[in-house]
Symmetry: C2
Subunit: 273 residues, 2 copies
Amino acid sequence: MTALVLANGEPTASVSSLDRGFAFGDGVFRTLQVKAGHPLNWDRHFRRLAHDCNALGLPVPKEDVLRSEMAHVAPGDAIVKITVTRGVSGRGYSKPTETQPLRVVAAFPPPEYPRELARDGIRVRRCDLVLSEQPRLAGVKTLNRLENVLARSEWFDAAIREGLLCDAAGRLVEGTMSNVFLVIAGALHTPALTRCGVSGAQRDRIRDLALSQGIAFDVRDIPFGELREAEEVFLANSLIGIWPVVVLDNQAWKVGPLTRRLQALLAEDDAAA
Amino acid sequence: MTALVLANGEPTASVSSLDRGFAFGDGVFRTLQVKAGHPLNWDRHFRRLAHDCNALGLPVPKEDVLRSEMAHVAPGDAIVKITVTRGVSGRGYSKPTETQPLRVVAAFPPPEYPRELARDGIRVRRCDLVLSEQPRLAGVKTLNRLENVLARSEWFDAAIREGLLCDAAGRLVEGTMSNVFLVIAGALHTPALTRCGVSGAQRDRIRDLALSQGIAFDVRDIPFGELREAEEVFLANSLIGIWPVVVLDNQAWKVGPLTRRLQALLAEDDAAA
């Protein structure tokens, strides 16, 4: 809970209750890992943040400002969360004509996920919550995350590490906090996030690493039932790296060779940062 | 922009950037009118707030606490906005085990809508944005309001006072900041808000007033095209009261007798408060 926070460059963990981030979720955020002062996978994080700001018509923070603020709050190992909102306005939904956006850069302690999760794989469940479809916001990591909150509140069993989410047509979309990948006939498949879901910077990196290695990477609609055909299944985000999925209800997988290879490629890429 | 604000009873317009209202929109709000220190239509507002808190598993603020805080921030005429969030937590979507919810009660200057809008009616448009469907949150006024923000940003013509929203099946749902009502064969019809939309306390009051007068009140799915069959159309919320709709694209209506009658009933009800 103790976090070092800069709001528009000022050291404060306070924001106005009139901020549109608080009032409407009118903003976006990204979460990344910093090691020894180096933000991992930064270029893709910044591109995603810029994309998300553009999706909402928010000005994109200057990259050098973000870099310097991250260096300030996270000189060593940390999780950094960058939030951009449309700033303070009156009560109404209309965007203020003179936007004074808010930029919050906060450092949190590094996550303490047991190493066994990446090594031995995790157990997941299918969530009851069905993701709604809003193509205008699909892929964007907005501050409207109540569906994720509701989905994550469906289970209390600590042995279940993630929940999988589908849309109303029964298509697999994502995990509550991760993107999902299937290995089918040696190729990587991940759901298209054109109707709902959040597109992670780690997903972008896995795509790039796969393609650089000549591994086919297919982004498409994936009915949930296709999980049965998958040789390997894994989840990814910027904090967990890659977690193999080994149990989903009565289905089981072994941690497979492509998952292992991608974990190694990620680790190399981080080490080179 | 100047607002008198209490956060958990303390006079401050600041909230933590770690508050889940800011981070995820993990909370609800209601907006109401106060006249001479009397919150109008309070019982229905409180019931809606309680319903919405329950929908998210948030503790319902005590009614006497809210009443006393409203009296503090709004001793005269004002708009009061009540926000309840799940409070501060760490980064993750998981609900904190020990919830210390946040309650924000803020007073704003009364709205300055020209009286002609209620008298002569307004011009509206149909928004391009299509509302997503999330039955788990339908009707609830959560802090996830980006769709309303996007819809309201579709037009700049000040002569257009509201935009109408549909779901993916082309059903009429609501206005960006109001509920919508049709008069067909002398009966009132309003969209069922079971898939999306926000259920206003004013909508509840109009239902109760109509039923008390023996006016049929039908809550159901309404294809957008049914507007053509409507003898009267109006919008309502707690700040505007009732605004007759007189122009939508190439359709036009006169301000009708049932609209006038309901406006008079609302005014009487407010005066009796």
